[in-house]
């Protein structure tokens, strides 16, 4: 981790006041016991519940530099693309931590790096080890079982099959899916997200469809709507065998410390018998 922008670095090596614009990393901070250090979060932060009481400083498109500065942080966790913000903070002598969006390995590395930044290396190592162990456990549980061709959908226009967004062969969703004992139907696509046409969905013919949603029934997407929308694709094996699962909860789509929970959720949906 490199201090952003040139010049002196007057802030202490170990951070004491942290502002985090990236929800996944806010979760990571709380997971490694650095929660009390957090003084500001993004407006999309939901977890853990304590963050709702913290001041909001905006998000990816609209970070409020004034607000951030008024909280007197010595470390700001920002998105890699927020280069202007990071430059500004660098000029103010504030260290920034740039979020890298990649697979599970990166998530675990990031947690470790946050441990170093906040002086909680031991806790971070513990968390990381724990996550690795749980992922290995899932692998073990589903080992040897049939790995069905699975479509992992994380967005869809409610009530129809328009605007379906599915996981491609890259990224943490794909990796979690594979660990949970499935073969991603779009494993061959070297992108994180795919927007398949109806024709592509029929051609790929997944055996299982897993839909993940951050929010639940509020959106109008219930299990009933899900089944009904997919039923149009009568020849798709997942539709014929009824292996369509709707999982809700933001832990499923946040690349943070709850990824083991998400992986287990996938595994339970895919291999219910292994969890009896």
């Amino acid at each position: 981790m490199v201090p952003r922008a040139g010049g002196q670095d007057p802030s202490p090596v170990v951070a004491r006041r942290v502002v985090s614009i990236v929800p996944a990393l806010t979760e990571a901070l709380f997971a490694i016991g650095a929660g009390p250090l957090v003084v500001g979060v993004s407006r999309f932060d939901q977890f853990p519940p304590e963050v709702k009481a913290l001041p909001s400083v905006g998000a990816l498109l609209d970070p409020n530099t004034e607000r951030i500065l008024s909280l007197r942080p010595d470390l700001v966790i920002a998105y890699g693309s927020q280069s202007d913000l990071q430059t500004q903070l660098g000029r103010a002598g504030i260290r920034t931590f740039s979020y890298r969006h990649d697979g599970i390995a990166t998530i675990l590395d990031t947690i470790a790096e946050l441990g170093t930044a906040t002086g909680r290396q031991a806790d971070a190592a513990r968390v990381v080890a724990g996550l690795r162990a749980r992922l290995d456990a899932v692998r073990a549980r589903v080992a040897g079982r049939d790995r069905p061709r699975t479509l992992l959908v994380f967005e869809r226009q409610p009530g129809s099959l328009r605007e379906v967004y599915a996981s491609g062969g890259v990224g943490f969703l794909h990796e979690m899916l594979e660990i949970a004992g499935a073969r991603n139907v779009f494993a061959d696509v070297a992108r994180e997200s795919v927007q398949p046409s109806v024709e592509t969905l029929l051609a790929r013919a997944p055996e299982v469809i897993i839909e993940v949603r951050a929010a639940g029934l509020i959106e109008g997407v219930g299990a009933g709507d899900t089944r009904e929308s997919w039923s149009v694709l009568a020849s798709v094996p997942a539709v014929r065998t009824g292996r369509i699962h709707l999982l809700t909860g933001d832990y499923l789509v946040v690349p943070g410390p709850r990824l083991a929970d998400a992986t287990e959720a996938f595994a339970r949906a895919l291999h219910a018998e292994a969890y009896e």
């Binding site: 999309f44 998000a59 990816l60 498109l61 609209d62 994380f154 967005e155 226009q157 409610p158 009530g159 129809s160 099959l161 328009r162 605007e163 967004y165 927007q195 046409s197 109806v198 024709e199 592509t200 969905l201 029929l202 051609a203 013919a205 951050a214 929010a215 029934l217 509020i218 959106e219 109008g220 997407v221 219930g222 709507d225 149009v232 694709l233 009568a234 020849s235 014929r240």
Partner: protein, 359 residues
């Protein structure tokens, strides 16, 4: 003395590609026959092509149950509805373009000039972005999805607002007020759309941007069935317009002096074209350029008499969008280009060419 005497001494032909100076009846039949064949051919050819190899024999093999027949599913669930949606939307937007151009007396008008599409887009944006916090699922009614229902509502609101602004003085619609109101509404709604996107989160912004690029992949006939009644009503109303459109394009007084009930004709034109545009945009998002390229191309071929231009544009619009969507879904296979991008890439150079030609 007959008109044909004048032909021998006539000056340079009017259009670039001139049909023989036959009567309007003949020209109408020829145009409908020609463009109709083109549209039918496009609708028959397009479902045969796509990113996946399918065997036509298997598609129509009755011995395989439909649920098991992947080839048939691809043909009847994925491709055919999509092609028909393209035909419907293309036809609708092209006709609406012709009507708005005549009504506003401006060949550069589009179905989106008066803000109807901006209203529709705003409605759709709101549902996409607020979908996570409000019970937008309740917005769905009948075969309409929440997004489609909201965009219809937004379009209706925009059209009503423009109508009210343009008819406040009581008598006939002032075209200049119409244009001003439309342009203002477009700006206002665009600003609102930007604001809504600004406060949205990552995926919502992307979904919203994607919707604005247009999408014809309807999947099954449900969405088509919901838009069809609206479009049929609009077309039924269009059928009564063409000769009035000719006269309206001369000016309100000139039209009135030749027996046109100007107020009624304007209302009919505005309502039917707004209805058509709303239906098209709520089905497939705001696909640009169809409503302006097709009328211009058609006029180059058949002349400017609206009694021929309107039906010809409806048919050619269908063929045009079917072919654009075919390109969109096969050119860079397996990646799909948004259809709005394809129509823009054709429309832009076309207009440059028109400008150069005129100059």
């Amino acid at each position: 003395m007959s008109v044909t005497d004048g032909v021998a001494r006539s000056g340079p032909p009017v259009a670039g590609l001139a049909l023989p100076r036959a009567s309007v009846r003949t020209r109408l039949l020829t145009a409908v026959g020609g463009f109709g064949t083109l549209a039918a051919a496009a609708c028959i050819l397009a479902p045969l092509l796509g990113t996946t190899e399918i065997s036509l024999a298997r598609v129509f093999d009755r011995s395989i149950p439909f649920q098991d027949n992947v080839d048939a599913q691809i043909f009847f669930v994925a491709r055919l509805p999509r092609v028909l949606a393209a035909a419907l939307v293309g036809s609708t937007l092209a006709s609406a373009g012709v009507v708005f151009q005549a009504m506003l007396r401006n060949p550069l008008a589009t179905p989106f000039t008066l803000g109807v599409s901006a209203g529709a887009s705003l409605g759709a944006m709101l549902v996409i972005v607020l979908g996570g916090t409000l019970a937008t699922g309740a917005l769905a009614f009948g075969p309409f999805t929440p997004v489609a229902a909201a965009s219809l509502a937004g379009a209706a609101m925009a059209a009503s607002l423009v109508y009210w602004l343009a008819t406040r003085r009581g008598y006939a619609m002032s075209t200049s007020v119409l244009l001003l109101a439309g342009v203002t509404l477009n700006s206002f709604f665009s600003a609102l759309i930007m604001f809504v996107q600004y406060i949205a989160d990552f995926t919502q912004v992307y979904r919203a941007a994607r919707w604005l690029m247009g999408d014809l992949d309807v999947g099954g006939f449900g969405a088509l069935g919901s838009a069809l009644p609206l479009v049929l009503v609009a077309f039924a109303l269009f059928a009564r317009l063409p000769s009035s459109l000719n006269l309206l394009s001369l000016g309100d007084d000139a039209a009135a002096a030749r027996g046109v009930d100007v107020v009624r004709a304007q209302r009919l034109a505005f309502f039917s074209a707004s209805l058509a545009t709303s239906a098209a945009v709520s089905l497939a998002g705001p696909i640009g350029f169809v409503g302006i390229v097709v009328p211009h191309l058609v006029r180059l071929i058949v002349g400017v008499d609206h009694r021929v231009v309107l039906p010809a544009a409806a048919l050619f619009g269908a063929a045009f969008l079917v072919l654009c969507d075919l390109v969109a879904r096969t050119l860079l296979a397996p990646v799909e280009i948004p259809v709005g991008v394809v129509t823009a890439m054709i429309g832009g150079p076309f207009f440059l060419w028109l400008l150069v030609r005129r100059g």
